[in-house]
Symmetry: C2
Subunit: 263 residues, 2 copies
């Protein structure tokens, strides 16, 4: 399961939301690195490859894992959404005692279909090597780890939007009354911040994705080029993941949330 | 699921086994770091805390996850052992076509009980902060990720033993015939290698467990002390994990395997 520690009982502040987002970068990158341990392993995605399953092995693993996680309360958190929401079992845990900090609109905004699509169609081929080593189950499970971390990060946009709205409702209310997506998108776009995020995740991919051995120790400190030659996941792919998908889709979640914020 | 890519169809060599072990260090450390995102969260381990489950929430998550993973063939790999082996469903996948490279004795050596014990009683309190943030399900799932990575690493001892035995059977056969554990243990112990492994995993914990930000960039390169002040998991705990548990238990697996190697 994906969650970092972020107790909803605390009062929501921009500082705390930012900290959570920064921590989630580490999780996303570390899961991409884990997935890169396997080649593409495309039979895991072929429907009908294994006649014992109704769909693909991936679909089986995702559906069964989501059912299990639903029983232990995963989808009681507003930022957690299943990829297969149909007929999930209910949570067996007591509901969280904390009052909700988000507008109920959050519950109805789930863009996991878009996430699934870009992950398998565009992102995965950029960082998984071609090939087939037969580890389909581990591969499927590792894909789900990546998908969940990315989905959580994107849907965390609810909290970003809520805290920004609460901080200066007067800035947002006119655009919300007019249901003006473009103005909301402009209010939520900070090019400098986005550039900084891209640089930071690229740097993290370099640090966490390096091959560490005792041998190069001395050189690695002085010879930057040498130390940074080979990474487990290409750092520019991580930067692109943020630029093309995570940041735009987070803003989409924020806009959708704000459009319903006054309902 | 835990597995790194390591196709069993390849011929077993000491080089390949070592590579796999070194890769598994990265996985173990990255999962400990993920677990350290949560505080101890002890209600996850209390039997009877949640009346909807027969045991603890942890036991529920582990048993249900193992059942799911069993259906997709996890336990067909000799180095993968369940923590709750009772009444697991069979694999729904076709069996691997590759001929087994290990002696069948491997299947009967499962030291997961010891691993469970040291993990919860000794290791976890060394790296999880005290406290309770309510994320019990994610915590349990993260514990299982750690347990599986450690278990896989320790049971990988089968391959280490097999490749060493094949390389010089004349060294091992007398001790096996005499069922002499002490001699086998001596044959399998290389103090220099163990010291190197401890140093390497400590270094990896420093690299993968650092807080990365754009701000300290310049200082971090030159001021080693400054850069290494705070890690997500104490590197000395990772070194100790290898020294006290992983390396001795891997050797135990090797000895048990070799004792039955000529049966």
């Amino acid at each position: 399961m994906a969650a970092e520690s972020n107790s909803k009982s605390d009062i929501l502040t921009l500082e705390k939301v930012r900290e959570a987002l920064i921590k989630q970068e580490d999780t996303i990158i570390s899961r991409l690195i884990q997935r890169a341990n396997f080649p593409l392993n495309s039979p895991a995605y072929d429907e009908g490859k294994f006649p014992s399953f109704p769909g693909s092995l991936l679909q089986f693993v995702v559906k069964e894992t989501e059912a299990l996680q639903s029983k232990v309360g995963r989808y009681e958190s507003p930022e957690e959404h299943p990829f297969f929401p149909e007929s999930l079992p209910p949570s067996l845990l007591p509901l969280p005692a904390n009052p909700p900090v988000l507008h109920p609109a959050a519950g109805s905004i789930n863009i996991n279909e878009k996430i699934w699509e870009f992950y398998f169609d565009e992102l995965l081929p950029l960082f998984a090597a071609p090939g087939d080593d037969g580890s389909y189950a581990s591969t499927a499970s590792s894909d789900l780890d990546c998908l969940q971390a990315i989905s959580r990060r994107i849907h965390y946009g609810y909290y970003v939007a809520e805290v920004k709205f609460k901080g200066s409702p007067q800035d947002y209310e006119p655009a919300i009354h007019d249901q003006d997506r473009d103005s909301l998108m402009k209010l939520l776009t900070f090019v400098d911040v986005e550039e900084m995020v891209k640089k930071r995740v690229e740097k993290k991919a370099k640090v966490f994705g390096q091959e560490v051995s005792l041998v190069d120790n001395a050189n690695a400190k002085t010879d930057k080029h040498n130390a940074s030659e080979k990474y487990k996941v290409d750092p520019s792919v991580v930067s692109r993941l943020y630029e093309e998908w995570i940041m735009p889709l987070t803003k989409l979640v924020q806009v959708e949330y704000l459009l319903r914020r006054l309902d």
